[in-house]
Symmetry: C2
Subunit: 526 residues, 2 copies
């Protein structure tokens, strides 16, 4: 068994460098660090009357998880959140919401309806993210299916089929057909036959026929899997013409789509009904007045027996004395705040880099995708806007919110643009798939996470070289930053994980820190 | 362009005969019959005071569509339904419901909760079924996503991996990897390279690397697309061992699964929130007291200027004089009812055969699939029970209803079994995937559609030979049965379609008949 960087890191890399899967595979074998603690197993001991004050810095999901679990165990938590809202990169944008991008503040003008939102940050919950799902269940967050792959959505690439958008189904079915046909043909060559018995070769042929929907003679001659060209219900179905395989080889958007709905992005995925921030609302409902908004931390001093925190709230300086501190402020921001962290800790804080990510969304005047037989899912484009996400919530209602761009390759395309230029770029890109796009959408919202106030970055990045994997130094820095300072201060968040950009990682970082604290509290009281 | 039988017919055939995709491809080119009429275009003229009485025989979705549209236009409709409920093969089973299988009557004992149901008949709505979706929208039927493919669901085949269930993701990712590797290898052979330029060969290699997640040297060495063996969040992810391709070739359930979520069964699919019969409830809410239940038709006489219908309701004989009749009673039952249809019509009525289909469901004492990271979707088995469907509605609630068997190959396996034998067979089959299955499920329901009272069959079948497609005679019989008798009596339902077993086809058959009637009414009044 070998170890690799995460799929999301890899996708980021792909987008940034155009590298291929092979790039991923050179990851050096590295020693394992201690694993996460399952949420269900987290049962913190009551700390008693002394040593129960905890300062939680930042209300990303790791901070909220810490506050929630500590509160259950009898700790006295105070959550300090610099912005006007909780949740960090879990952000559902609705009517009236402020997008606090520095230099590009916007207020959302979508209609004030429950289905008129988009998840500007975290948007998918894989069914294997048990810890996040545990909290969804415990906090009563209703879940629904997230539609990623939709065979009726489009692929569009200027270098594919002269830029004409092609339904995902047409691309995929034809590619599968041709790959199967080629492989069936090649089975006559000794190279392929050699390792197989006659029975196995027959089995493989059977597999290829199913996989590619091959016609007689094991040739691909088109397939009804792409739907009918016409008829099919009251009259005989007419099969669509097959495409020329040569024409499907160009461009990269098709190749990406072949892999884009596998792994963490494959079915089945979920989202909370009504927006991802229903999870945040679940936490803050419990935390009540322990939440403090517009509370900007100005100093963190670790003392002999605790942590002193200073913060500004609405122009007034406050201080907070705590026995412990759980800190999910991005480390690259924390280094600019007054502190007395040890030098090796500061070195690790400075080492962590932050990714860039950019999303844009429009209110659609009508649900034009449904008229095109598209109910949810993602169209992929080989342009700056990259993706269009069609909402499946609010099916058949008058309007909806469509994601018009998702650039996770760094957001560099749009960072230097002003709002009008960003919007024009998405309108031009979208028109390549939906001819009347410009007139179908309105009330744009754009959000560049690396320019958002109090964050200035998207997911954390540790490894500088995706091809070779983490270095020994990076491992050491990670371990340093994960460990508590003086037993009092913990960094948490997806920045203390090897799979950043997922809520699951942020939660697990908090669970690790909680379990570490609990172990010492138990030892002390024993 | 060539014409073929429907995918569902093909799947039925596959299951029945074990044939391969090649079987489908010999379909003879046949002349097109008139196409369907889009629902949005249906705008029937008011018939005036004379000639407005319509008898609707049967309340399958085609009958309800006819009654709904005719009612909107000013016709006076009476719907006669033989059973205690409307909807025919659109049947959502809940607490207290009667399953009226002849010789095996059951009452459903599931908990009385909104999410505790299963769709015993129609269960999926493809996004291309525009006419059905039109009525869902018009009738205010709320839709949600149907989960078909779930990478975390299982494949189980006694002849695959010694019968050990394998996650769909593990099977699919490994197969894709090996197919890509083999093809990449074979590209050195002249046979493959020959038709491609050097650039195209590079593009194809790029496609294969993405498709198969190939490692260096274009070898498949396992993939993180299958998820981690361990770690991956706070520690480096450990890749699962790759499987031996040889071991994945055996059995047929894997091959079937490779094709099973394509075409009509591919994403994105929908279902009404709360059960498929919400569509039926939408119709009957509008139709009100035009609906007559337990009204068994005993005679249909076509007269010079109308249709006389006799029926029994609760032991009382009634007669109904109508100007027109829309009849969705299965033709193989209608031939046994007194009538005066012309001989060629009767010949066609007798020609239509009916398929068999069988489903079984259990109440689960707990949502054991969610503990196994499965949220919705289908596990495939190469045994009599064939499929297990996990509900995604009611995520994280205490219990759920799991489909324990779906045999669409004819239901022959279970037809001759009594209820206890059926249930034991599903328990044994399910235990091959979920070790404690027997103790996790209770309150079974089974339903053999070919034995259901007032139906005695599942979807209609016209073509006797799937390999060669419809014969000239079959075409003629179909046209005969589609055309009205004396301009007064129309057969409707998916029995008057070439794509039976779908609600869309039944609706389109009604729309065709309605448009045909309307044309004559308009001509007469002009």
């Amino acid at each position: 068994m070998a170890e690799f960087v995460s799929r999301r890191e890899f996708l980021n890399l792909l987008a940034a460098t155009g590298g291929t899967a092979a790039a991923l595979k050179a990851g050096a074998a590295l020693g394992l660090l201690p694993g996460g603690v399952a949420a269900a197993a987290l049962d913190l001991v009551n700390p008693g009357t002394a040593g129960r004050r905890v300062a939680i810095l930042g209300s990303g999901i790791s901070g909220l998880t810490a506050a929630y679990e500590l509160g259950k165990a009898g700790y006295d938590c105070t959550v300090l959140e610099a912005s006007h809202r909780a949740g960090g990169r879990i952000f559902t944008v609705r009517h009236g919401d402020l997008i606090d991008e520095i230099g590009n503040r916007q207020y959302c003008e979508f209609e004030d309806e429950p289905h008129m939102y988009f998840n500007a940050g975290a948007a998918r919950i894989p069914s294997t993210h048990r810890n996040l799902l545990h909290y969804c269940k415990e906090l009563g967050v209703e879940l629904e299916v997230f539609v990623g792959e939709n065979n009726n959505a489009y692929l569009q690439d200027d270098s594919l089929l002269d830029g004409k958008p092609i339904r995902s189904n047409d691309y995929k079915t034809n590619v599968r057909g041709f790959l199967a046909e080629m492989l069936a043909k090649s089975m006559s060559s000794e190279e392929i036959d050699q390792p197989f018995t006659e029975t196995e070769a027959e089995q493989l042929l059977g597999m290829l026929r199913e996989f590619g929907d091959l016609s007689e003679g094991d040739l691909y001659r088109g397939s009804l899997r792409t739907g009918y060209a016409s008829g099919g219900f009251l009259t005989h179905g007419v099969q669509k013409d097959m495409l020329a395989f040569r024409d499907l080889l160009t461009g990269r958007v098709g190749r990406n789509a072949l892999a884009g709905f596998e792994g963490d992005y494959g079915p089945m995925l979920m989202q909370p009904t009504g927006g991802m921030d229903k999870i945040i609302a679940g936490y803050t409902r419990v935390l009540g007045n322990r939440m403090n908004y517009r509370a900007m931390v100005t100093a963190v001093q670790i003392t002999e027996d605790g942590v002193d925190v200073a913060y500004d709230q609405d122009g007034v300086r406050h201080t907070l004395q705590a026995d412990y501190c759980f800190n999910c402020i991005p480390t690259h921001l924390m280094v600019g705040i007054e502190h007395n962290f040890p030098a090796d800790y500061v070195k690790a804080m400075k080492y962590v880099q932050r990714g860039r990510a950019y999303k844009a969304a429009f209110q659609a005047r009508e649900r034009f995708w449904e008229k095109d037989d598209i109910y949810g899912g993602i169209s992929w484009m080989n342009n700056r806007s990259a993706q269009i996400w069609y909402p499946f919530h609010g099916i058949h209602k008058a309007r909806g919110v469509v994601l018009g761009a998702y650039d996770y390759g760094g957001g560099m395309n749009h960072t230097e643009m002003n709002q009008a230029e960003r919007i024009e770029s998405h309108l031009q890109d979208g028109e390549k798939i939906h001819p009347n796009y410009r007139n179908l959408v309105e009330k744009p919202i754009t959000i560049a996470w690396h320019r958002m106030n109090h964050m200035l970055g998207c997911s954390a990045r540790w490894s500088r070289n995706f091809r070779t994997g983490w270095t020994h130094d990076e491992e050491a820095l990670y371990r340093t930053l994960q460990a508590p300072v003086n037993g009092r201060h913990y960094f948490i968040g997806d920045q203390i994980s090897m799979h950043s950009a997922w809520q699951e990682s942020a939660i697990m970082s908090a669970q690790w820190a909680l379990a570490n604290l609990d172990e010492r509290v138990r030892a002390k009281s024993a």
